[in-house]
Symmetry: C2
Subunit: 196 residues, 2 copies
DNA sequence: TTATCCATGTAAGAAGTTACATGATTGA
DNA sequence: TCAATCATGTAACTTCTTACATGGATAA
């Protein structure tokens, strides 16, 4: 999904300037997309050339003109074309999970702090979604908000119930013993070569 | 998280060639990271120069030499340095959710097909995680696998219970009526301008 | 016979981010 | 007084992906 399609999507919610588009993206899309000014402004200019949006200038006091963009029928068609394409697989990027995967290489206090932070972050997102959800939203938007809530709730619950796995000195010590640490040089072990 | 750290992580599971690293990444990390040969090979060469890995050449019949990389103590230290940094926020990229958000712009059959596909994809991932999970894994790896299972299960459950929201002709028709379609030109409505 | 696996690497290109440039207003 | 908000835009930079180059072995 490129920035152009994202801008078209946002413009279905009403006319907006580049600046306002960024804000809407932050408010409503940040859970699964974002874009910087450096990509939004060029995208808008290009789409104007392509006839997907029109632009009206509003004079401002002491600031650059506000350029308000509006979706054209052609732009709405283009959005539908893009949206109808089979969606690419979801992709998650999580440094947190990599950290958890190698928790046995790190101090327990660091791991615990990361879990706490992740939990707090989920709580915040959940509260924001709660605020976003209101009955006059389209069924699609409510579906997505509900989806987010379900995932966040499950993640929080899992972390609370299973954090002991990555925070137990005893369990982690076991791993180190199995690797032969505290006995020989670190590289002496690990003879395994094949991946599977 | 850059490709270099990812390679270092993989090498803690045992010495490997660039090709094998890619495979391990696909098998164990694909849920939250991936990397192409075009990024792995340069990363490995750079890390050799930096002293984070050593390399032994194995002659092959009719193929380029197999270059087997091994983590050095310095490399292990570098990995720990990287891993100890506070993880960046998780980021999800989901064309599926954008599609659902604007389900009212699409034919119901398309939406239903997307939900079916997403459900199938979750089922596959869940089965793969099930296979991956075995008792001799480190607690960190089991924590991550469990986390994945919890999220996938919650997502599937939510979609099954709520897909009617984006697949009901009646609900979607209501949205169109509210927007004033089937009455006037599509651009006549939507006077709203401000985002909040 | 055709595709996939094995195996490494380079070069070109895509897409985005960050930093810079400019500057008034408003709230803490 | 200092930071944030509003407002647009360009240029340099980073990072990764895709395609290309090479080619034997093996499985369907």
């Amino acid at each position: 999904m490129d920035v152009r399609t994202l801008c078209l999507s946002v413009l279905t919610m009403g006319d907006a300037s580049g600046y306002e588009i960024k804000k809407r993206l932050e408010d409503h899309f940040r859970y699964f997309y974002d874009a910087s000014f450096g990509s939004i402004y060029p995208a808008l200019n290009r789409m104007q050339k392509d006839g997907f949006v029109t632009c009206t200038h509003e004079a401002q006091n002491g600031r650059p003109d506000k350029k308000v963009y509006r979706l054209t029928p052609g732009g709405r068609l283009e959005l539908m074309r893009q949206l109808r394409q089979a969606p690419a697989e979801d992709r998650l990027r999580s440094e947190f999970l990599v950290q958890m995967m190698f928790a046995d290489l790190l101090p327990v206090s660091d791991v615990a702090a990361s879990v706490d932070q992740r939990l707090a972050s989920c709580r915040n997102d959940l509260a924001d979604l709660e605020k976003l959800d209101c009955p006059d939203l389209s069924p699609g938007k409510r579906f997505v908000i509900g989806y987010g809530k379900a995932i966040l709730t499950a993640a929080m619950r899992y972390m609370e119930e299973n954090r002991h796995l990555v925070e137990s000195e005893a369990l982690l010590a076991q791993v180190k013993a199995d690797r032969g640490e505290d006995e020989e040089a670190p590289e002496a072990a690990a003879p395994a070569r094949s991946a599977r």
